[in-house]
Each structure stands twice: as structure tokens, then as C-alpha cells.
């Protein structure tokens, strides 16, 4: 039996979550200077809190994905100090239980894709710790947003590893939550104690599910397309920034650096982007991907071909962020519409 619980209103749900904020870090989507990100609810102004309902229930992801809460853009994992000629090494681990409210189905799948990389042997401990510590409350998208392509990627309504599903009952205004994992059950219990009530039914979303692109077909079409002059053209347009990769919920590349000041320092990892020339530059200066064409190809082939070969799935969830924010309008469609086959007449 999967328990369904209800809050009378979104406000009540937020209040209940607030009550739990001594135990969990609770984050939810809001805006800051008009830019949409997940932020801790305890740090929000009243104005920002008033944005949470709309953005949580909206069928379109915010600009910032939930990824930074599991794989931060910068993360120190070793600290060292020199004291009396001796080196003291510390490993700060500060992962706290966290609740992410208003995640989207595409976010859930993006994490499942990152799991394939980070949770396979050798397991990435920094990520695993946070993944285990995170409870995802996922909006059931009813329609697709303007730039959403989740249907193409078979992600729409795909809420496999969500801990709780969330839906609004329009007639009563109730917010319904359905637990579907152990973590979700525990949180549901806690929310019941904070005044939410059991509910007999959950409202399933009305979205008609479209047939998704077939990953092997795409991969094959991409491989056949490798020598096309299209890539040279696309690379001439791309300005080689990192917008598409830094906002992508499935990109997971990082760099490891040391930060040193006199007697102390830290080792941290920080997001890297395959669109940067120094991403593949080796000590000694050799660069196996010397041109922008190599780099643009790498990004698209990693998502649409190599990931299929290595992990059995397309490495894109169709969230649309890259296309929306690319300064020169390059999106996944820009490539998918050109690689031929069925994809073309989409």
C-alpha cells in the first residue's frame, strides 16, 4: 500500500516542511533577481517564498536544476594545514539530509543517469552520500513547457526514483503527495505529524505519453553522421562558452584543483566543461581535441552516442535548458532535426 497524504493548500505544505527544517535542509525553486534556482526555504524572503508554489507545480524546469545539491559546482573534500613542520590532513564531510521540493521528472531521470556514472564501481562517495541523504518531492507534469522535449527522451512522467510524487487537486486546491520509497515513507510520516492528512486517492497526471526516440536508432544515426560538414558549420557558430554544459542536469564532468595559501590549503573539485579548450589539454601541451569542432562534436556525441553505448541510455533528458540559454541558439533539436531518419520529420 502506498500512502497518499494531502495538505489543504500549498502554504500548509510549506509550513509543514518549515517545521522540519531543523532536521532537513529544505530547498525549493524560487527567483532571485528574476533568475530561477532552487534555494533553501529558510533563506528566502517573503517575496521569494511566494514564488515557490508556482515554480514547484509548473510543468517546466527552473533555469538551475537540482544537480548542484547532489553534485555542487565546487566542493572541498580535503583540507590541509602545516603545523610545526607537520602536515595535518582533514576530510570535511558535511552532507546533511535534504528535501528537494518541486523537482521535475526530467530532474529525476537526470540523476538516474548520473547514478550510472557515479554510483558504479568505483563509487563516488561524495555524490553517493548526498544522493542517499536526499528526498525528492517531484511534480507530476501535466503539460510540457515551451522548451521541454522530455517526450522525445522518454522522460515525461518518468518518476522512477522519486521519493514522493506531488500533484495539485485543482477542485479542492489540495496538494497531494504519494510516497514511493523508504525515504518517502519516512517523510510522509513526519508530514502527517505536522498536520497533513491521509487521502484516499492520488491524482494521476493526464499527459498522453508520446513515443520516445529510440536510443539505438539515434546512436546509429549519429555515428553515420560523424563526417558531415554540418559539424564544422555548427562549430563556427558556437562561441565555446560553458552555458550548455553548466546548466545541463546530466553533465557531470569535473576538474580537481588545489587551493593554497601559505601554511594551509584545500583540494576541491569543480565543474568542468568539455567546451573549454583546456578540458583536454594535457601536461606538456598536447590536446587531443584541439578544435572547437572536436569539442562541439564531443558534447553531442557524448549525449547521443557514447552514453548509449556505455550506459544503454541517451544522455539527455530533454529539459531544454541548453537550447534556451545558448547565446547563439544551439539546442538538442538543432542536431536531432539534422541527423536524418525518423527524427527528421518530428
Amino acid at each position: 500500500m502506498k500512502p497518499v497524504i494531502a495538505a489543504k493548500s500549498f502554504e500548509q505544505l510549506l509550513k509543514a516542511l518549515h517545521q522540519l527544517s531543523s532536521k532537513y535542509l529544505v530547498v525549493a525553486p524560487t527567483t532571485e533577481d528574476g533568475v530561477e534556482h532552487y534555494r533553501p526555504i529558510t533563506q528566502m524572503s517573503e517575496e521569494q517564498k511566494s514564488q515557490v508554489e508556482r515554480l514547484s507545480l509548473r510543468n517546466q524546469p527552473p533555469l538551475g536544476s537540482v544537480k548542484p545539491f547532489l553534485f555542487p559546482d565546487s566542493e572541498i573534500y580535503i583540507e590541509f594545514t602545516k603545523k610545526d613542520g607537520k602536515l595535518d590532513v582533514q576530510t570535511p564531510r558535511a552532507s546533511v539530509p535534504q528535501i528537494i521540493l518541486g523537482a521535475k521528472p526530467c530532474d529525476v531521470v537526470s540523476l538516474e543517469l548520473i547514478d550510472k556514472v557515479f554510483l558504479e564501481d568505483p563509487v563516488d562517495g561524495l555524490y553517493q552520500e548526498k544522493r542517499d541523504n536526499t528526498v525528492l518531492i517531484v511534480n507530476q507534469c501535466d503539460e510540457m513547457g515551451a522548451n521541454c522535449r522530455c517526450d522525445d527522451f522518454g522522460v515525461q512522467r518518468s518518476t522512477g526514483s522519486a521519493d514522493l510524487l506531488m500533484s495539485k487537486d485543482e477542485s479542492s486546491g489540495k496538494i497531494l503527495l504519494k510516497a514511493q520509497s523508504e525515504k518517502g515513507n519516512i517523510l510522509a510520516e513526519e508530514l502527517l505529524k505536522e498536520g497533513m492528512e491521509e487521502n484516499p486517492v492520488f491524482r494521476e497526471p493526464k499527459v498522453p505519453v508520446k513515443e520516445a526516440l529510440e536510443s539505438e536508432k539515434i546512436q546509429q544515426a549519429m555515428d553515420d553522421f560523424f563526417e558531415s560538414p554540418f559539424w564544422e558549420e555548427l562549430a563556427m557558430r558556437c562561441i565555446g562558452c560553458a552555458t550548455c554544459t553548466f546548466y545541463c542536469p546530466t553533465c557531470h564532468c569535473y576538474d580537481i584543483r588545489d587551493f593554497q595559501r601559505k601554511e594551509q590549503g584545500a583540494r576541491y573539485r569543480t565543474w568542468d566543461s568539455c567546451m573549454f579548450p583546456d578540458y583536454t589539454r594535457m601536461a606538456g601541451g598536447h590536446n587531443p581535441r584541439p578544435t572547437r569542432k572536436d569539442r562541439v562534436q564531443n558534447r553531442f556525441y557524448h549525449k547521443l552516442s557514447y552514453f548509449v553505448k556505455n550506459e544503454g541510455a541517451l544522455g539527455c533528458v530533454g529539459c531544454g535548458r541548453c537550447g534556451e540559454k545558448c547565446p547563439v541558439g544551439i539546442s538538442m533539436d538543432t542536431v536531432l532535426n539534422r541527423i536524418g531518419g525518423e527524427v527528421n520529420d518530428k
Binding site: V35, S74, T243, T291, K293, K325
Partner: protein, 297 residues
Amino acid sequence: MCKITEELQQIAAELLKEGKVDLVLGYTKGEQEEQSVPCIVTQPEDASKLIFDEYSEKALSKYLLEESFQDKKVAIVLKGCDQRAFKLMQDESRLGREDVYLIGVECPGMKWGEDLSPFCLHCDYRTPAKEDVDSLLTGADIPEAMQGEPLDHEDSFTDINRLEKMSKEERFEFWKRQLNRCKRCYTCRNACPVCTCRVCVFDRENPDYIDRAKDQMAQHQFYHVIRAFHVSDRCVSCGECARVCPEGIPLHLLNQKLLRELDKFYGEYQAGIDEVPTPLSHANADEPDFFGKEGKA
């Protein structure tokens, strides 16, 4: 189809047909609503893709410095600010005038969200000078706000006036909040037509003073202060840096504030119109000496 677009397509087709250029770099309609994106046309029959409208905001001149454009004969569409950037590259010996065919276009002013760009409202160089380009296309549909005299700096960049009135602490809080969102994706730098250093200081391998961490406020400040100074006197006011920032950081307020101050110290200077050197790239013996009182003169 507007007059400029029509003529542009004709010229592009001719240039390609006659083999005068290998490619024409202009704009075409993007995948999203109200979006125009850079477009490279190499075949005469594709010239019909080209358009020019109030969303053709990208600074195309920047592409001319890219490696993939080097061994090709290029024709490029330039509105006023973009031609200024081209001129600056030329003056700074980054490229030669004779290598490129310039198609100047009269600019109707570019959008800035729903409104017109404050840069454009202030712009008095919408159309490149005839003698500076190879073809000049005019006849744009000029919106009312762009007709008549351009606005003063104070009247177009009103947000700077607001920031100037803040207390130091308020201002610091404002920039702290804004810059804290910076991801150092370098989109602002890569889109900027005057960020043209051969090796950017932020791309150097392991300099001691810059760090890659994205959660270090000081590092973001460092990046932005350095960049703001590097572009301050050379900014051609295209507005791209602020427009492309995915985090909506109002970078133009930084460099336009600097420009405002530079104008006061050194007299008005417009990069890409006035002669080089730019105010900050040289020093005159009779200049005010800001460091003298600290004994560093």
C-alpha cells in the same frame, strides 16, 4: 520582408556567386520565438536564410578572430556597434581591413527583454559610416523611441543612477548577491567583441592568483573587476555581456559605470570611433596622478 533583409540577401547571393567571398556571416531566424542567431552562408541559394531585425543582437565581429574563420574570405554584416568593434580590432592590429568585406546595416536598435536596449537608446552610431564599409544598407524601420536625439547616459542607464545613490554597504550587498550567482561559464567574455586577448588571463594554466572554485565570492569579484577594467575604455556598447549572462547579472552596470567615470577623468571617448590609443592603454605626463599621494608616483 523588410528592405534591408531583401537587399542583404541579394548582395550575399552576388558575392557568393561571383566568388568574391567564401562565406557570408549574418543572422537568421532562431528556433525560438523572437530570436535571431548567427548564420554562415556559403552557397548563393542559401542567401535567402539571411535576415536582419531587432533581434540581430550578437556581435558578429568577434567571430573574425576565431581560428575557423582565418583562411577564408569573409563578408560580414555589421551594425554600428559591431563596426566599432571591428574598427578597434583593426586599430589594435588584430585583423586587416582588406581581408573582409563589410556589409554595414542601419540598425533599428536591439531588444532588451520587452524593451529597447539602454545601449541602443543612448547610441549615436547606429549606422556605420559609408566610407568604413563596402556596402551600406539603410531603410530600417526605426521605432519611435529611437528617432530623434539619443538619450544621455544618465537617462538611458537609470539603474546606474540608482546604484550611485545607494550607500556603500547597500551597493556591496547588491553586487554580492548578483555575483554570487556567477558560474564562470565565461559566456560574457566569449560573446564580448572587445574581449579579444590572445590568451585570456583566466585561461592561463594555474596562475597563483586565480582559482577555479565556483563558490568563492572573492574569485568572482576578481574576475569581474579585471574584466570590467579590461573592457571599460574599449567597450563598444553592444550590450551582449549582460544579455547573454544566463544568471541575469547586469554586467553592463559595471562597465558603463566605469565608462561614465572615465569620461569625467579623460574626456569623452568612444572606442572604435575615436582614435586609439584608448584612455587606459597609455598615459600622458600631464594626467592627474591618482597614486602620487601614496608615494607610488
